[in-house]
């Protein structure tokens, strides 16, 4: 009897959430310790499964299957391949850092951490699910706590943002559900299991009809232009850890879904549609970075930069080229960590300066050297500096994309330049320049914050310098996928 790693990883946050809700209310510091313990446990197990994954064998490992609703063919089926494991690891890292970043939540910490952990549990289930129903269930579990988290602990126009974000994501999940049910019924309505559905020979017309529906459904979550506007408002209003999780992990859910369900299940539809969709991803990249340039609210800058970076992920997917697909998943990982770092930093800077308006800041580098350094690191990853993970990811995407859409990729490269411009402008305006008397009394990060940031930075650096360990993992699932695409073609 092998250890059901994936079940434990996914259920741990849920269990921790329940424990947190059972804690005595007057113990306000207990919830965060329980949350940290849960997150750490998940993280350690995530690292363990990544290490335990047999690269040579490839395919799905750590399989678990139990019947849930036999009459509808719903199973509790978990299993992970290289790509899923990369995402599980990403989630583990982000929630751990996220708990650290929200160490000082004062308002209803019990509910906050519980909801946060429930959300993460849903995310884990999505990444590990081998059953479409479970996948969808996990997805909804991940999206719904978001509403409360933003609505209650958010800032600014939080009700508006929470409503917008939730409705938007519900729209996405409605489209997704249509696609999922169509696949289920076209597959004979026997099973939601992905292995079953993968062997259904969907007709060409079916694939062409439902691929765009699935793509849009998932794409909405991934910030696909023009369905991205929930992201700036949502991220700007969300509390730190939620922004981290949302931009860091939830947006990746969308991209993951496109690959796992869209491309893998409906390869013909994908091949027909991607040339058109690729054009939109170009808009994502260039437009996102140009819009980010004009923002004055720090969180909006980062939110739009996410739109731009997710454009690179989507571009990589839309090539259906093995190199670019590897790059896309790498970018999912890299951007997840990077944007987690960014939002954590924004939260910490905001907690000190009480402003997010970039022109109001300045000269912070001498007041908070560590935070500034971390921000510069984040910025450098964002603009694709070699030595950090973002470069590897973007390089792979562009290398692959160039083979499929040379002109389009050449234009997309300009996005990197614009990214450099806005990142450096932000860094300059926030951290450089003469000291401002308004910030005379702000201090640098404390040890909790430092450890949160340090973890994220080390991951970025580690992947950037020696990307092979991660790329090999991802490649073990992209390789077979693209072989299958070749056969279908």
């Amino acid at each position: 009897m092998s250890i059901p790693y994936l079940s434990i990883i996914s259920a741990t946050p849920l269990v921790a959430a329940i424990i947190i809700m059972l804690l005595p209310r007057e113990r306000v510091t207990w919830p965060r310790w329980v949350a940290l313990a849960g997150a750490a446990f998940s993280l350690i197990l995530s690292i363990t499964v990544v290490a335990a994954y047999k690269l040579a064998a490839g395919g799905y490992q750590f399989l678990e299957t139990h019947s849930l609703l036999p009459s509808l063919g719903i199973q509790y089926a978990l299993g992970a391949d290289g790509m899923a494991l990369a995402m599980v690891l990403l989630t583990g890292i982000i929630i751990f850092a996220g708990v650290l970043a929200s160490w000082d939540v004062k308002e209803r910490p019990q509910e906050f951490f519980a909801l946060l952990l429930i959300l993460v549990s849903g995310v884990f289930y999505v990444f590990a699910a081998r059953d479409l129903f479970l996948f969808f269930l996990g997805y909804e579990l991940a999206v719904l706590p978001m509403y409360l988290l933003i609505g209650i602990w958010g800032t600014g126009k939080r009700e508006y943002a929470a409503m917008k974000l939730t409705l938007y994501l519900m729209l996405g999940s409605a489209l997704m559900l249509v696609g999922i049910l169509a696949m289920y019924f076209a597959g004979g309505a026997q099973s939601f299991h992905l292995d079953h559905l993968r062997h259904v020979q969907y007709s060409r017309g079916f694939q062409i009809t439902f691929f765009p529906i699935l793509f849009l459904g998932f794409g909405t979550l991934a910030g696909f232009w023009p369905f991205h506007t929930w992201s700036p408002d949502g991220h700007a209003s969300a509390p730190t850890a939620v922004s981290m999780l949302h931009a860091g992990v939830l947006m990746k859910l969308g991209a993951f879904g496109i690959i796992r369900i869209g491309v893998e299940m409906l390869p013909i539809g994908a091949q027909v549609w991607v040339p058109y969709l690729a054009l939109f991803t170009l808009v994502n990249i260039v437009y996102g970075s140009l819009v980010a340039m004009a923002q004055t609210d720090l969180k909006y800058v980062i939110a739009y930069s996410s739109v731009s970076h997710m454009g690179i992920v989507l571009l990589g997917i839309c090539t259906l080229n093995p190199i670019a697909l590897n790059g896309a998943v790498m970018q999912m990982f890299s951007h997840g960590i990077m944007t987690g770092l960014f939002f954590a930093l924004v939260g910490m800077v905001y907690g000190r300066t009480h402003t997010r308006v970039i022109p109001d800041m300045g000269g912070l580098a001498s007041r908070m050297p560590f935070l500034s350094m971390a921000f510069v690191v984040g910025g450098l990853v964002s603009l694709g500096l070699p030595g950090f993970s973002g470069f590897v990811a973007e390089l792979l995407v562009f290398l692959g994309a160039f083979r499929v859409y040379p002109l389009l990729s050449a234009v997309a490269v300009t996005g990197i330049l614009f990214t450099a411009i806005y990142v450096l402008r932000v860094v300059q305006k926030m951290f450089f320049g003469p000291d401002k008397p308004a910030f005379d009394h702000v201090g640098d990060a404390n040890w909790v914050e430092k450890s949160c940031l340090a973890i994220l930075m080390l991951v970025l650096l580690g992947v950037g310098i020696y990307p092979s360990w991660l790329v090999n993992l991802i490649n073990s699932s992209i390789g077979p996928l693209t072989q299958m695409l070749e056969v279908v073609r």
Binding site: T229, P386, V392, V413, L417, L424, Q428, N475
Partner: protein
């Protein structure tokens, strides 16, 4: 030794990491640690060069780095050949000089630990770039060089000008890098390899020809234009003077700007494959050379004069490369590294003493700063290309290469630039060191940590010329001797170059030392030209305009579009839903009988549907 070449870049980065991590606690020792590391690198680099000299040829050491499905394979590797071994020595030597010099120059700065960490990072990046055996790693270190320059130029980040200059340097070079990256993508797509040697073979096999070759070469050259400050991407270099002066020395001599020239040299086969590309490269180089030289003639800031001088000399190198003068370009790079580093260090010493950059506020410093004056004179003579200083030989080689390539127009440009070079450097020299002191403040000679590097460099600036012939032969081993360069033994070109140098010197002497010709009179006579030059041909303003009026306007327009049209559509849909809801709720008007009618009408409709689906019921009607 060859297998252990990786230690050369590893030492500086290890030192940088150590100093960076330990932070302010070891501020006092930071410079010594990094200097020691780089001294180690220098020794190893010399040893390596010795080995390469003993066994000429090309060695490659590779390690797998990244591999994916779809046949992508990127290796981490070192390419050790004469070219890289020479560059290693140049880079480590100049870096060491700059580091030691900085021990004195930056002694009182509170961020000194950070400074030395960045400096070592810079050296590391450049060493990595030099050693790279493939385009991807070349690009990676290329970007790291850009990052290091960003960090160092913006070292005094509290100065808004410094922060701006750093950003400008990064963005402008990145603009060029974009072309570079696209070039790499094109190369990877068509030749399916990134390995530099393999690329050379592929080009020889004729896999790259015609328009494609031109496109590749020009795209790659974009990167070099950015880093080596070729027109029109030169605008960052003068601004980069906002950084500490030793950093300028490093940037201008051995690291940043040398990267572009090095890259062209490294990828020479790719460039040589296209006649058009070579022509373009040489003309851009020639234009930059004379363009920057004219600007340098009217600047007041000592560092800016040197900065434009660097631009001009880089133009020389690029021009030579474009004319097929591969060794000429590299040799000029080498000598230039020596005398330009010296010029900057000497300038730094001056600035350190008088606390101003304005040459008109200096003057008469030769009395108080003997060593500085001496080394500055040597460096100036070398820059002007006076026999027997190093610059004479290398400049001569450059001019010869244009001649051999049959580009008389470029030869003419080169000679004219030599005249201007001589003029502006002696203008600076006379104004700063000769004449009466402009202020009462008494300037002191710098401490020994600053003078010793200058003296060492001045030996090179004076004597490197002797290495001309062996240097050429040594370098030809890389790429198996480009056939373009044949020997030239004429006397005409050296004579003309010397004449130009002397003319320039005489002009500066007459105007600024003898005051035989009034400088202000000249200025008034040629006021429009003077204004144009003074404002650097308004290039910065044009960029400013383009950025402000085009990019930011587009950006703001898009932001508006996003908020109001795209998001407006979203909110519009929400509004529409609400409106529909409101409209439909009007039906709920509270009047009982309306509901009743609706209800019965519904019943009627249901009955109709039932009947329609069950036609036998109404069959009697027919």
């Amino acid at each position: 030794m060859l297998e252990h070449a990786w230690i050369i870049p590893a030492l500086p980065i290890a030192a940088a990491a150590l100093v960076g991590l330990l932070g302010r606690r070891i501020n006092r020792f930071a410079g010594w640690i990094t200097s020691a590391a780089i001294a180690g690198s220098l020794l190893l680099a010399l040893r390596l060069m010795w080995d390469v000299l003993a066994h000429p040829g090309v060695k490659e050491i590779t390690l797998p780095w990244l591999q994916t499905a779809g046949g992508l394979m990127i290796q981490m590797g070192m390419l050790i050949d004469p070219l890289s071994s020479v560059m290693l020595v140049i880079v480590t030597f100049v870096s060491l000089m700059v580091q030691v010099y900085s021990l004195g120059y930056m002694a009182e700065d509170e961020g000194i630990g950070r400074y030395f960490a960045f400096l070592s990072l810079f050296t590391f990046s450049m060493l990595g770039l030099v050693l790279s055996n493939n385009l991807i790693f070349l690009y990676m270190f290329w970007e790291l060089v850009g990052l290091s320059s960003y960090l160092l130029i913006g070292f005094w980040y509290k100065k808004p000008e410094a922060a701006n200059a750093a950003k400008k340097a990064f963005v402008v070079t990145r603009f060029g890098d974009m072309g570079f990256l696209i070039g790499i993508l094109v190369v990877g797509y068509f030749l399916n390899t990134f390995n530099i040697l393999a690329l050379g073979d592929a080009v020889k096999a004729g896999k790259l020809a015609g328009g494609l070759a031109t496109a590749v070469a020009l795209l790659l050259f974009c990167g070099a234009m950015g880093k080596s400050g070729q027109f029109p991407l030169h605008i960052w270099l003068p601004d980069a003077m906002e950084g500490p002066t030793p950093v300028s020395a490093l940037i201008h001599a051995a690291t940043m700007v040398a990267a572009g020239v090095f890259m062209v040299a490294r990828l020479f086969p790719l460039f040589a494959a296209s006649e058009t590309a070579m022509l373009t490269v040489s003309y851009i180089g020639g234009f930059t050379a004379i363009f920057a030289a004219t600007i340098a003639c009217v600047q007041d800031d000592i560092k800016r004069i040197l900065a434009y001088s660097t631009l001009s000399q880089l133009g020389y190198m690029v021009m030579a490369l474009g004319c097929g003068g591969y060794t000429a370009g590299m040799f000029h790079l080498t000598t230039h590294a020596a005398f330009k580093a010296l010029l900057f260090l000497a300038a730094g010493s001056v600035i350190h003493a008088v606390h101003t950059n304005d040459i008109w506020k200096m003057g008469g410093l030769c009395r108080s700063m003997g060593i500085t004056t001496a080394v500055m004179l040597i460096a100036s003579l070398a820059l002007a290309g006076v026999f027997p200083f190093a610059g004479f030989f290398s400049k001569d080689e450059v001019l010869v290469s244009t001649f051999l390539a049959g580009r008389m127009d470029l030869l003419f440009v080169g000679l004219l630039t030599a005249l201007l070079t001589s003029f502006y450097i002696f203008r600076m020299f006379f104004v700063v060191f000769a004449g009466k002191p402009a202020t009462d403040k008494h300037a002191h000679e710098a401490s020994w940590v600053m003078t010793i590097p200058m003296l060492l460099l001045s030996i090179l600036a004076a004597g490197l010329g002797a290495a001309t012939a062996p240097f050429g032969h040594f370098l030809q081993a890389s790429f198996g001797a480009p056939a373009m360069e044949t020997e030239y033994h004429g006397r005409l070109i050296p004579a003309l170059a010397t004449l130009m140098a002397v003319l320039g010197f005489a002009w500066a002497y007459l105007v600024y030392l003898q005051k035989a010709v009034s400088a202000s009179l000249l200025m008034r006579r040629f006021l429009p030209i003077y204004t144009l030059l003074k404002n650097k041909y308004y290039i910065d303003e044009m960029y400013q305009w383009a950025v402000q009026r085009i990019m930011f306007v587009v950006s703001r327009a898009l932001a508006w579009f996003d908020r109001n049209i795209v998001d407006g559509a979203v909110n519009g849909v929400a509004w529409l839903c609400r409106l529909t809801g409101d409209g439909l709720s009007r039906l709920q008007q509270g009047r009982l009988q309306t509901y009743l009618i609706m209800f019965v009408a519904g019943v009627v409709i249901i009955i109709m549907v039932v009947l329609a689906s069950n036609p036998t019921v109404l069959a009697w009607m027919k």
